[in-house]
């Protein structure tokens, strides 16, 4: 049996996870982690050159290609950041080498699970992959063994499990709906087969199924009011995990939801999933934007910002149509890059200052100018100011939906502006004014952060035509 690129992006992380689990010496492990992540990324790039054929279990189309490349790229840059991050954690004794061995194995395990969820052509397999991804992140969120970390892990665990359980019920209902048209057995869960026959499915059953799937995977996307686990998990875990959670895992859950949305779109009698997604998206945007004002913990604040941006993305996908889908995809890519860059900066800042409390951090631009300005650039990008890519994607979301639903768009813009105010208010205090806290120079790796910001800046100024056509194809696919 030959292994094509699709198999390889699953095989590399799973083998590395096994290897990292037994490998002593965290310095070597961190390097191996980077090498494995880089190899996975390069393999995913090869998907553009040689397209492996989709089978009953694995699938490759324009949609998941975008997600896979984004996931493996950020997985790689985060592993570079992680290497310098954990070096500091070992020095101050917050983590022991034994925990790090576990951490690295789990990191690759998470990469494997996310890639599996993205390439799975079987809705049952996709569900299992999302479950594995949830479990590995739960374990990593609790790795510091503090009160707060344990509580965050427990909360994430219980809420994530309930979400996963509801998603499985929805998956079973989809199978039930498909059985009369597709027949019993494996075909009833193969996504490509399901989409082909979705027009003949029982619409009532499909509707109920989608509600469960939206609630289930929506919990994992972090949509309000199902978001309760998200801020804790982001704030209490190691920062590389916060970056991966925000930048990637939320996208993976969203991807699962999009697959089912595409299925419902084929069936003309089923409810349109759009309005449900638009409503939940808008609630998330407004809610998260208001919550930004009362934050005291810097990582928690950016976690709320992630809820806001996932809300914008879900809103845009819910509106649908080629332009809004294009904008949503672009926004998703830009948000993943920017948010993980912000977490790279925040991770080092929290290490330098020895705290995550906003009140105890001040004057960063004078004490640690590179980190400070790096974070500042990230925040300018994330609130949607030009010339960064998020400005362009938010502009596209707003302009593409304004003609169709002016009032909804007004609410959305209001949310974005409230969030802008909240973030600047809090970050301004951290950036400028009297230096507070420790002022030691940072031993940081700036490359991943500035690579991400550079990409976001480039996308804001000039989007390569290849990328535009690629995204347009995907947007058309999403309908």
């Amino acid at each position: 049996m030959t292994i094509d690129a699709l198999g390889a992006i699953l095989l590399i992380p799973s083998l590395s996870a096994a290897l990292l689990a037994v490998l002593p010496g965290y310095m070597l492990a961190a390097k191996l982690n980077i090498v494995a992540a880089l190899a996975t990324f390069l393999t995913s790039l090869s998907l553009f050159v040689i397209e492996p054929t989709s089978g009953q279990y694995l699938l490759l189309d324009d949609l998941n290609k975008v997600f896979i490349v984004l996931t493996t790229f950020i997985g790689f840059t985060t592993s570079v950041f992680s290497a310098s991050y954990i070096h500091h954690e070992i020095e101050i004794g917050r983590l022991t080498p034994a925990f790090l061995r576990f951490y690295h194995a789990m990191y690759q395990m998470l990469m494997f699970a996310m890639n599996l969820a993205l390439v799975a052509n079987n809705i049952g397999l996709m569900w299992v992959a999302v479950e594995v991804a949830t479990l590995t992140t739960v374990l990593m969120v609790g790795i510091y063994r503090t009160h707060e970390a344990l509580e965050a892990a427990w909360k994430y665990f219980i809420l994530g499990s309930v979400g996963i359980a509801l998603a499985l019920f929805g998956t079973i209902l989809v199978y039930m709906a498909a059985r009369p048209a597709v027949g019993e057995g494996l075909d009833g869960m193969v996504w490509t087969v399901l989409v082909k026959h979705a027009a003949q499915f029982d619409p009532a059953l499909l509707n109920v199924a989608f509600v469960f799937l939206l609630l289930g995977y929506g919990t994992k996307v972090g949509l309000a009011p199902l978001h309760a686990w998200l801020p804790d998990a982001h704030a209490e875990g190691p920062t590389p995990i916060s970056a991966v959670l925000s930048g990637l895992l939320l996208n993976v859950a969203l991807y699962a939801l999009l697959r089912f949305k595409m299925m419902l779109a084929v069936n003309s009698e089923a409810i349109a999933p759009g309005p449900l997604m638009v409503t939940m998206g808008l609630i998330s945007v407004i809610f998260a934007a208001l919550m930004l004002y009362r934050r005291r913990d810097i990582k928690r604040m950016f976690a709320y910002s992630s809820i806001e941006h996932m809300g914008i993305i879900v809103f845009a996908f819910g509106m649908g149509g080629p332009l809004a889908n294009f904008a949503a995809l672009l926004h998703m890519a830009m948000h993943s890059l920017t948010k993980s860059a912000i977490f790279f900066a925040v991770g080092h800042i929290a290490q330098v200052k020895g705290t995550q409390k906003i009140a105890e951090i001040g004057g960063l631009t004078t004490t640690n100018p590179v980190l400070g300005w790096g974070l500042m650039l990230g925040v300018i990008a994330i609130v949607g100011l030009p010339p960064f890519g998020i400005f362009m994607s938010e502009f596209l979301v707003v302009s593409s939906t304004f003609a169709r639903a002016p009032w909804l768009t007004v609410i959305l813009v209001l949310g974005i502006i409230i969030a802008l105010g909240g973030l600047f208010l809090r970050v301004g205090a951290v950036m400028f004014g009297e230096p507070k806290g420790k002022t030691a120079p940072a031993e940081a790796s700036y490359v991943p952060m500035f690579t991400h910001l550079g990409l976001v800046l480039m996308a804001g100024i000039y989007l390569p035509p290849v990328l535009v056509t690629g995204f347009q194809n995907v947007a058309k696919l999403l309908g």
Binding site: N122, E131, E148, F157, L186, Q356
Partner: protein, 220 residues
């Protein structure tokens, strides 16, 4: 399918809902665990019967997992944990038992109305199974929200998961059922180990989740 086969399947699935109701009013942890063991035992019987009726031998594996893992190993392990932690006496309900039972009846009625209405096309057994399964899922959620104790929340989650297995086996010919039930067993094992490893008792001097609330929100 003969009417006797249908009746037995119906009886077993209905018993599962009944066992869920029994969990709702238990006010001691040991008793709750015993009812959970019963719940898992009924699930094993129900899945076993489905395996026989559908002539799907792989479902016997799922039944066996339910019997050995969920009805025996997990309750015994939780018994020991409870003993070690010395918390066997109390279960604190957030709302009164009467109100909880009323809510439970409402949820079962809701799932009947929703499920029977949307599945007129499916065969009778699958319809009823799905309606019962949704009831068990919703009752599991109810147990989770009405209990403050971490162990009983986990028991609520496990009963919810039993409902999912019932739904998966009721959907005739569904692939990956065994794999999914194994995946869920791993999840549950994680939770049980989690209670122990996280040592909620040691950390918080209580498994009462309210104690966790002290750490909720922002660190000050």
């Amino acid at each position: 399918m003969s009417s006797l086969q249908f009746d037995i399947a119906h009886l077993l699935a209905g018993s599962l809902v009944l066992a869920s109701f029994m969990m709702l009013y238990q006010d001691r942890l040991y008793a709750l665990l015993n009812v959970y063991a019963l719940h898992a035992g009924v699930l094993a019987l129900s899945v076993g019967w489905q395996a026989y009726v559908q002539q799907a031998p792989h479902l016997y594996i799922t039944a066996l997992i339910a019997l050995v893992f969920k009805a025996i190993i997990i309750p015994v392990a939780l018994h020991r944990i409870i003993k070690r932690l010395g918390i066997h006496r109390e279960i604190e309900n957030v709302i009164g038992i009467g109100l909880t039972m009323m809510a439970g009846i409402g949820l079962v009625a809701l799932s009947m109305v929703v499920m029977l209405r949307v599945t007129p096309g499916a065969d009778a057994l699958a319809r009823e199974d799905l309606a019962f399964a949704l009831s068990v899922v919703l009752l599991g959620l109810l147990i989770m929200v009405t209990r403050r104790n971490a162990v009983s929340q986990v028991v609520g989650f496990m009963s919810l998961e039993n409902g999912l297995v019932l739904a998966a086996t009721g959907a005739k010919g569904m692939p990956l059922v065994v794999e999914i039930s194994v995946a869920f067993s791993v999840l549950i094992a994680f939770i049980v180990i989690g209670i122990f490893l996280f040592r909620i008792r040691e950390r918080f001097d209580s498994v009462d989740v309210q104690a966790l609330d002290r750490f909720r929100g922002e660190r000050r």
